[in-house]
């Protein structure tokens, strides 16, 4: 008993010593005035080798770009936050730890981020890929996206050339040129993405059709693989994806079909299947926004840039398996997109229910989640990401079948 008491006293002393150290804050706000502390809240971590990894790359790239200009960034990166109230906590955490800019990397973070922004009016909050800042009447909220549909269109061209090559060589019949697309959700960003991809493919392979299967998750490696395999079983000879993992690429390789990727170069993982990928280069935006902040300028309310600005890039073409002449064709399409002579959603290239698209609204202003203002169709094309950075193309065009 006595010994137990002695032990207890000793342990108690050790503990109080440990906690006494907590009397003084060991934090942590950026002391150096040339250093800007920026929070980056991520839905995953770099291990996804896709979506979040792409943001981490953007983070490191922006750090490098700005270091040359004498602007130092101290990053506070918070990983594996869900699209739920943990996102509120993460934003509070970043704000309390002294971040001057807080970047949220996932679409679903925005509503939770908005719960916090009013408590910290001096902090700039950025929600990537979402769209509320234009309407929310606040100065410290921002959105950003890039014209990823341009990159997807080019990836579609690469895929279409491969399919056309297979048709020309007699490997498949023209009607067997079927693309399988693993999508996350029937969501505007996804619909816009697969439609642009399909239009790119059809511009070089007229007989192509596409099947879309949704996996009901932005990131579920197993479900993405299963969906890819199911699509291949249904006769798809080329797989593309709008989901975060590399498993569709490996699934395609295991069945001997081709693939194009998103967010990351997947040719290393599936060298016999993956032709090319496209991704947003977030370093461009991050450096622009942080530079603006450092210079005392406004961060753009809703930032959007495209391929011509370097915000959307193609990953290296897998020359070993791509159809001959692909690189030249890609360069040609890139130039045409840059000078505006080519519109991705040219209304003469697709039909909706057999008819040409003549009308579609871009924005939802009254909060009922159906677009009600700003005509997006004019000058012979649907203008994507013009009225807001986040995609708003939700039209289902002929030639694409949604399987679920």
């Amino acid at each position: 008993m006595k010994r137990a008491l002695t032990l207890l006293v000793v342990l108690g002393l050790v503990c109080s010593f440990a906690f006494a150290a907590g009397g003084a804050e060991s934090a942590s706000s950026a002391a150096d005035s040339n250093t800007i502390k920026v929070g980056l809240i991520c839905i995953g971590d770099e291990n996804d080798q896709g979506y979040t990894y792409n943001f981490i790359r953007g983070r490191d790239e922006a750090t490098e770009i700005l270091a040359k200009e004498g602007i130092n960034i101290e990053w506070l990166t918070i990983y594996n936050i869900g699209e739920d109230s943990s996102c509120i906590d993460a934003n509070i955490e970043a704000a309390e730890e002294g971040c001057e800019i807080i970047i949220n990397n996932s679409y679903g973070f925005e509503p939770f981020m908005l719960e916090v922004v009013d408590d910290y009016p001096e902090i700039e909050f950025i929600s990537c890929t979402n769209c509320a800042s234009v309407f929310d009447g606040r100065d410290n909220t921002h959105n950003a996206f890039a014209n990823i549909f341009e990159g997807r269109y080019i990836a579609g061209v690469v895929a279409g050339m491969k399919l056309q090559q297979m048709v020309d060589e007699g490997t498949i019949k023209p009607e067997e040129a079927v693309i399988g697309y693993v999508g996350a959700f029937p969501f505007a960003e996804v619909v816009s993405g697969y439609t642009s991809y399909f239009l790119g493919a059809r511009s070089v392979c007229p007989s192509v059709t596409m099947k879309v299967m949704y996996v009901s998750s932005w990131s579920d490696a197993t479900a993405e693989s299963d969906a890819a395999l199911a699509l291949i079983d249904q006769g798809c000879v080329l797989i593309s994806q709008h989901s975060d993992n590399t498993t569709p690429a490996t699934a395609a390789q295991s069945r001997g079909v081709f693939h194009t990727g998103y967010n990351n170069d997947m040719t290393g993982i599936a060298p016999e299947a993956s032709l090319i990928g496209t991704r947003i280069d977030w370093g461009i935006y991050f450096s622009e926004a942080i530079r603006a902040y450092a210079n005392g300028e406004e961060i753009p309310q809703d930032w959007c840039a495209g391929m011509a600005d370097g915000a959307v890039v193609m990953t290296p073409l897998n020359e070993a398996i791509a159809a001959p002449g692909t690189a030249e064709k890609v360069a040609e399409v890139e130039a045409a997109l840059a000078d505006g002579s080519l519109q991705v959603f040219d209304t003469s290239t697709f039909t909706v229910g057999g008819e040409e698209l003549t009308h579609a609204f871009a924005l939802d202003t009254d909060g009922d989640f159906t677009p009600d203002s700003e005509e997006a169709v004019y000058d012979g094309a649907f203008h994507e990401s013009v009225f807001q950075s986040a995609p708003y193309f939700t039209v289902r065009i002929d030639g694409i079948t949604e399987l679920n």
């Binding site: 008993m1 137990a4 008491l5 032990l7 207890l8 342990l11 108690g12 050790v14 503990c15 010593f17 440990a18 906690f19 150290a21 907590g22 804050e25 060991s26 934090a27 942590s28 506070l76 918070i78 594996n80 869900g82 699209e83 739920d84 109230s85 943990s86 509120i88 906590d89 993460a90 509070i92 955490e93 970043a94 309390e96 730890e97 679409y107 679903g108 509503p111 908005l114 719960e115 959700f185 029937p186 969501f187 505007a188 996804v190 619909v191 009901s216 939802d364 989640f369 939700t394």
Partner: protein, 364 residues
């Protein structure tokens, strides 16, 4: 001498009545030992454990904002531990609080989404509150009914009910209640459907503290509480005493489910302001530990739920300041729970070592 060989090195003996002071010393030292064992994972990550613990305290208690967040984490843990306490007292293994929370949250959310603006603020909150109670109670009653009627296994039954509840909400999230198409997000509640803050934390903390007192009286001072305790000790005794065991099981589970439903209401209306399938976020399971560690004592639950909340909140600051993964604090929490639960073993049994035991065995 031959005797000595047969005596095992360590023997266990049941302690009948341990000095309560000694019991508390064992409990407190188990916490301290657990915290010291927690040095190991921190050292493995290459950090200073003293600094890490101090960051946990700083990040959870020492700044008003952080303290409020810690309380916000503790509220559902506390209230849910109170919810399951009577079931466990009755030896009815209700591990379905997770689902009862989810259903309560769902019922409250329906009114938050579709009745907002139609009725005044307080009335709306009242309706949400009652809806959550009713939803949780029904979800708790279903397994209790089957248990009472056909003696089904309540552990499996309540567990399965969790997945059904979560599945229903997941369907609503991507279906009828979805906001922007394909976004999988139910819109945030309007202000009229949100619980007001008191001292910066939603008013649920006051209700939870009131509930502590109520539950203490219910379990210790009422006839119903006594019935629950008797069934927990021996179902046959209860039958012999003329108690309607099936009815009491159903009644207790309805109360437990209703309180869990109330927890769901507090979470959606006070903390998250929206509904999603993971709304219960493990609270229904963590609170089982809270209830057990507190020996089903409502007042002790306040301390235990705060302790777990401190570790939970502190871990995020640990991650942001020292780049220690939040999972390290999960490990420390695990060690803590393990130590605290196993210390009950030493309170109930004592070890008798070979050789020096003989004299002491019976002497006090």
């Amino acid at each position: 001498m031959k005797n000595d060989i047969r005596t095992p090195f360590v023997r266990l003996a049941k302690r009948n009545d341990i000095d309560p002071k000694k019991a508390w010393i064992i409990r407190v030292s188990s916490i301290i030992i657990a915290l010291i064992l927690g040095f190991i994972p921190i050292l493995i990550t290459g950090s200073n454990p003293f600094e890490a613990y101090s960051v946990i305290v700083q990040g959870s208690l020492l700044r008003p904002t952080y303290f409020r967040q810690t309380v916000k984490i503790a509220i559902p843990l506390l209230a849910c531990a109170l919810a399951i306490a009577p079931c466990f007292k009755m030896r009815f293994w209700n591990i379905g609080a997770e689902g009862q929370i989810t259903i309560g949250a769902m019922c409250a959310s329906y009114f938050a989404l579709y009745w907002v603006g139609k009725v005044p603020h307080v009335v709306l909150l009242l309706i949400m509150f009652l809806a959550a109670l009713a939803g949780g109670a029904v979800w708790g009653l279903i397994p209790a009914f089957f248990k009472a009627k056909w003696n089904t296994n309540e552990t499996l039954f309540t567990l399965m009910m969790n997945y059904i509840a979560i599945g229903i909400v997941a369907w609503l999230q991507g279906g009828p209640w979805e906001g922007r198409q394909g976004s999988q997000l139910i819109p945030q509640f309007k202000d009229a459907a949100r619980l007001p803050d008191v001292f910066g934390v939603h008013i649920g903390w006051i209700f939870s503290l009131i509930l502590v007192v109520l539950m203490y009286f219910y379990m210790n001072k009422t006839k119903q509480g006594y019935e629950v305790a008797v069934i927990g000790d021996s179902v046959n005794t209860a039958r012999y005493a003329g108690m309607n065991v099936g009815y009491i099981i159903m009644r207790t589970m309805a109360i437990s489910g209703a309180i869990s439903g109330f927890v769901g209401f507090m979470i959606v209306s006070g903390a998250n302001y929206t509904l999603y399938s993971g709304v219960a976020d493990g609270v229904g399971f963590t609170s089982i530990s809270v209830a057990w560690l507190s020996q089903l004592n409502p007042f002790a639950m306040i301390v235990i739920s705060m302790l777990l909340a401190v570790l939970d909140k502190g871990s995020t600051t640990l991650q942001s300041r020292m780049s220690i993964p939040a999972s390290i604090s999960d490990i420390i929490t695990g060690i803590l729970l393990f130590a605290m639960l196993s210390c009950e073993f030493f309170i109930n049994y004592r070890l008798i070592f070979r050789g020096r035991a003989e004299g002491k065995e019976d002497g006090k």
